[in-house]
Homo-oligomer: 434 residues x 2
């Protein structure tokens, strides 16, 4: 049985073979359950040890430090809406753009994204009709994608349209069709490098086609969440993403993109700095609100980050240390998946070169049951469906695996349980039709 | 002349006397202008020396510190939407309420206020119609008041209605009339203790009447900006403000108030922590959005604050140190005003026991000219009109003086110039009608 399991596709098995297999898997599952695991693979969260590599950040400023920014601003006091110059430079370099395109915000890029949507809804973009006054606003959502993106657009009653992802990015034919023909399509959510959850990086052609879109709506915007722009796992095998800001400029669409990034998974989640990059027109439009909305963001924390990382090279060097923690976890999962599921025809998965996730596609109709089975035995996964708008995966097939938080050993245990659940649920599914 | 100036009301002077006085004042002004002053009394901004007393905050956590909150949360990582328990407790004690009423936010209470209005506009409050779907939304604005409050409501197209302030707070008869009869009145801006700019503290009766309002609109809310709740200038002569949250509960209006506070003028402006206090119903309503809007606020900075101040007693002790810096500046201004303007009938002013401002009322029609004259000679004041909605002071009379930033010596210089400008502009005004 053990040998056949590796070489025979489940689908080719007879009912009898499946029943025998099911019994043996059920036994394994009962044993696994008895171990009382309590592991969390649900969110892209760094481990405590990984966070330790950023501890020096807390020593960069203290009561004896010079607390002035390069332009002489006392970072302790009021003032500065768009970030101290050196923080703008650091975040610009991270995104591959220039400081004049950048506003440095507080601790969460999610908050910046929410703000862009909220402002478009209440006040409109660059003089266009506020979205709250329109009958219908639509967003394109490459799927599978990031649940928190979809939650923002859902919150504002924006209709979300699924766009299939491939290894080179979203289906650009579909994107071009929607964007050029439907003026109610106002935006698209993108995670261009090491996409969440598949870890795909948009090809140069995809980026260029994205920048060259001819939107029916003047206020159509690309929401370019460059969350994993420097989050490579391999030093000698990394993806590159073209600078969307300059590509949009070249294509005559300078105002068409809002780019987001943060140090949440670089320094400390929740205590990092986040930034927006966009055109001068958009920045002027945004500042009109920002000056009413806040007294400015935490400049001391900006100073802390700049003094710790120094420059883009410091950032990259720091990310190499992170990779040493995360890489073994990805590899632990991938090796279990390969070992246990390869050739069985009951699942496929991605092997990203960066980012925080592995995407797993089970047989249609199995994802929810697999996640439930894992949970029952103490392994928490991201809810099935979460990677799709409205939490609805039409095929009930995609599962997001977030390997960063557990230790590599725990990750191996969790992956062992995961593949067991995949097998068990797949057998049960196949038996339904025998 | 010098003696008469002190005892004779300008209004009682003859045209000839005024012309002589004008000539002498003009000479003084020319001399003052020649000094080339460059002083800023425009915003309530602590001085660098005053900020030094908070420097220890930066030493409270470093790379060797225990970075867990009392409930064991690793403050470096993701998680916690409403603040770590000890920060909730500290901010609750500061506002005079309990931690279950509190959400701790990021660095700016202004941002929390903006958020409340923005959410009411886009999604409504507790199931009520979003304000963007209503024809008319109105806010009551006690005047003079805080320009940044008015800027938020103006931004959302909310009609602002002036309510006169007195030493005991807003005219409650007017407030009760508007709130009980007009369902489009959705809120009132309040700075209940050491109000901006007058430094008045609402009386106990005012607070009780406020809490007992019978609003025509279910989603009417009191925006209670308790910005100066612990910002006393005198240890033995301070105002007290009743707890609006419990007063609203007692009056059967538990959901009627949003209270705001921050440590912006306690620790570092821009790098402090801010909080909202409100009912359990409102908190649940707000969290529905907050979970979509952000990954949480900076918990390390919350930890920094709790470890530095320890508790409410630590906060109060710290504020005594602040008072030592600010008090002499208030007194310098007040003594120049008293010395130079008392008895002239050309201006009146407040003498607050706390907060950041002195409010000056010039003769009608003189405020803009006084501010312009000061600016011309190098002293920047808050723009005349700024203390009223839409920047329109109907009497062109109110000027906000912010004495906190300059040194006491500079403050004296600035005040000397200010009174000179008041005199000069008043004389010119009186001459118009002679």
């Amino acid at each position: 049985m053990l040998i056949r399991r590796k070489i025979m596709q489940y689908n080719d098995m007879s009912k009898e073979e499946l029943l025998v297999l099911k019994e043996s898997l059920n036994k394994e599952y009962a044993e696994a359950k008895a171990k009382g695991l309590a592991l969390d693979m649900s969110r892209g969260k760094p481990s405590a040890k990984q966070l330790d590599v950023s501890l020096g950040l807390l020593d960069t400023i203290n009561s004896s430090s010079d607390l002035k920014s390069l332009d002489g601003t006392d970072c302790r006091n009021y003032g500065v809406l768009d970030g101290i110059p050196e923080a703008k430079k650091l975040m610009a370099d991270m995104m591959g753009t220039t400081p004049d395109h950048v506003i440095v915000y507080g601790n969460a890029s999610l908050n910046i994204m929410y703000d862009q949507i909220s402002r478009a809804y209440t006040h409109g973009i660059l003089g266009n009709t506020p979205w709250c006054k329109l009958d219908k606003v639509k967003f394109l959502c490459p799927v599978p994608g990031y649940d928190r993106h979809f939650a923002i657009t859902e919150r504002f009653g924006i209709e979300m349209i699924n766009i299939p992802m491939s290894e080179s990015g979203p289906d650009m034919g579909m994107v071009e069709e929607y964007v050029s023909k439907d003026a109610s399509v106002k935006g698209i959510w993108c995670v261009p490098k090491y996409s969440n959850p598949q870890g795909y990086t948009y090809s140069e052609e995809t980026v260029k086609r994205m920048a060259a879109l001819k939107p029916a709506a003047e206020d159509f915007r690309i929401f370019w969440d460059n969350a994993y722009v420097i989050h490579d796992l391999y030093d000698d095998n990394k993806d590159e993403i073209a600078d969307i800001i300059s590509e949009c400029e070249k294509a005559g669409n300078p105002d068409m993109v809002f780019e987001f990034a943060s140090t949440s998974k670089v320094s400390f989640p929740g205590s990092g700095i986040a930034a927006l990059a966009t055109s001068a027109n958009n920045i002027a439009d945004i500042k009109k609100q920002l000056t009413i909305q806040t007294i400015g963001h935490d400049k001391l924390n900006q100073l802390r980050h700049v003094r710790f990382f120094k420059d883009i090279n410091g950032l990259k060097e720091h990310m190499r240390k992170h990779a040493e923690f995360i890489r073994p976890k990805f590899e632990a999962v991938e090796s279990v998946l390969e070992e246990e599921l390869s050739g069985l025809g009951i699942g496929s998965w991605t092997e990203p070169k960066g980012g925080y996730f592995i995407s797993f596609d089970a047989m249609d109709g199995c994802a929810k049951a697999i996640v439930a089975k894992c949970k029952e035995a103490g392994v928490k996964l991201t809810g099935a469906g979460a990677t799709f708008p409205y939490g609805k995966d039409p095929k009930d097939s995609n599962i997001r695996i977030a390997p960063s938080f557990p230790t590599p050993e725990e990750m191996k245990q969790a992956a062992d349980l995961f593949v067991l659940c995949v097998k068990l649920v797949s057998v049960e599914k196949l038996l339904e039709n025998k």
